[in-house]
Symmetry: C2
Subunit: 347 residues, 2 copies
């Protein structure tokens, strides 16, 4: 398959802060619904930083990565929707896309879902289960400059988009965005595409503020916590935002999002909750709608690929550092220290 | 005004378990937007039981009650929508019904809201602030048999209705209802009116089960907690309900509601949260929509009055004990001991 026979390079986390690029076995088809991809590009996710920082237990060396684009190398006997040679974008949970839950648009909760299915995407090859329900082929081989944007669709764009949809961003709405990581920034892009009238980015970093504005933010709030909430209230006639995107996942960010939202408004939360405990009476009295969770990226992939293919949106701008896969450790470090917003790894 | 001059009978809570009927001053107009009602009937709310049981601090004697129907006795100079002699139904929060929040249907969060405004409704007379935005007049003087149903509209029906709307009960949906108090039971009635296909009542009391069925429940689940959740899953092909109404307000009932709901489904919660703390990651992974809070009853009053006036619905059936106001203490006791579902007090 490649010059090293049955082996490939892949990123493995051995423990907190210990990222290595190992020789790993090239995955093979296991189920007839599988596909094997030759990975074109993968990336490092904010959620990869939790185990990197030791917040999630890592008991053994873990292959890393769950965001990917690539070319189909092999397909199992039952695969119908993608074929060898297709360039595909996948979502981070494998789903059948045919069950009642998938048809309702919640592919991350598919009755056959395989949460860790695409784990190990920071590698040269990747096995993707339930290929028909998980992968979406692009109209052809993409121009190289489209690859970062297509890669973004695989997770951060799809997640930011889901957050904006969950927050019911749309015409006439004021949208507040808590979190200026790639997901928050692409939540801004999504809110803009969905027609939001006003988009308030909460960020204290000049480079991220600039990207936020380029994606459609109309206002920047640099304060956090209660002060941030007070500023949002000031900007919205005392009422709070109609829609708030929460893209961090901490207790402070969740409460900041809930408090920034008017009664009857919508909070779309996609930051993976860590040590969050929502006070019931406070939530009750807020009168907000709360919806979120692991984003059903697959729901949005066809639409997102269209928008990228037609060059209507350019979500790939969130990648401010591109590295060969061998330098993955430097990529993790840059994300961890927030010197990079989002790192693209070339496989 | 009455035979006792400036005084009237009114229910006052002196401390846990200590309900008395006192002579209180008849309220007077204070603001030009006020109305004074001669109360026809009031009732005891599940939420009145929290201070009755000592769960909410009661530092001084508190006039009780916030659900009422009555006849307008006086109006302030600025009141336009109701007039002396009108029979009216009010909601438990005073609201202007003209601000942006009210116009969006969230009158309990009105920018001018007065949460305790109608407190003291278990009395012969009641001052209602913001009368134009709070009260709705019936088409005429109601037949006496309609009074319990109109009274129910003032809180328990409006709250159950909001829960069903928040849970997005509707055609093709399976709705689970956690809580067999008056609000839960009327949530069943609401889900039925909204067109739900299947309504699963969670109740272990024969009399409440019967009422649940009469309001439209198609299935009864007697188990609670994890066992109750397992039964709901069994009844819904392993997926959970599309819509769940939570009408209790405890940690157990909230988790029971969330776990009973499929990903992408909706939990409408209206039980006033007491000592509830929602685990963030569990909520995140559930993928449900969560919406609730103090019900904006005013939003639904015109529609509910129509349905009652036309005898399409009979929510007054939840009152299984009617007492003269002098016997309020017995009413609280019956509610507390669950020998009565809902008590009507005749003023």
């Amino acid at each position: 398959m490649n010059e090293r026979g049955m082996h490939m390079r892949g990123v493995v986390l051995y423990g907190p802060g210990d990222v290595r690029v190992d020789e790993r076995e090239i995955p093979e088809l296991v189920e007839p619904t599988d596909a094997i991809l030759k990975v074109t590009a993968a990336c490092i996710c904010g959620s990869d930083l939790w185990p990197y920082r030791g917040a999630d237990a890592t008991s053994q060396p873990n292959p890393m990565g769950h965001e990917y684009v690539g070319v189909v190398e092999k397909v199992g006997a039952d695969v119908r929707n993608v074929k060898v040679g297709d360039f595909v974008v996948g979502s981070f949970f494998a789903s059948d896309n045919t069950c009642e839950i998938c048809l309702a648009g919640y592919q991350t909760h598919c009755v056959q879902r395989q949460p860790g299915a695409a784990t190990g995407a920071q590698a040269e090859y990747l096995r993707v289960p339930l290929a028909d329900g998980t992968l979406v082929a692009t109209p052809g081989m993409p121009d190289p400059d489209l690859i970062p944007s297509l890669l973004a669709a695989s997770d951060v764009l799809g997640t930011g988009w889901f957050a904006a949809v969950a927050a019911e961003a749309g015409p006439g709405k004021t949208v507040a965005v808590v979190g200026d990581g790639a997901v928050g920034l692409l939540g801004i892009l999504a809110a803009k595409q969905l027609g939001a009238e006003r988009i308030i980015a909460m960020s204290r970093h000049a480079d991220r503020q600039e990207l936020a504005r380029s994606f459609g933010a109309t206002d920047i709030v640099t304060e956090r916590g209660d002060e941030g909430v007070a500023r949002i209230k000031e900007l919205t006639g005392g009422l709070g935002a109609h829609s708030t995107i929460e893209a961090v996942g901490t207790q402070e960010s969740m409460l900041q999002a809930i408090h920034s939202t008017r009664a009857g408004g919508h909070v779309g939360y996609v930051g993976v909750s860590h040590d969050v405990s929502l006070p019931g009476l406070e939530l009750f009295m807020s009168g907000v709608h709360l919806h979120g969770g692991p984003a059903p990226v697959r729901r949005f992939l066809p639409q997102l690929i269209d928008l990228i293919w037609s060059r209507t949106i350019d979500p790939g701008k969130v990648f401010d550092l591109t590295l060969p896969i061998e330098e993955a450790a430097a990529g993790y470090k840059a994300m961890d220290e927030r010197t990079a917003i989002k790192v693209l790894l070339q496989a």
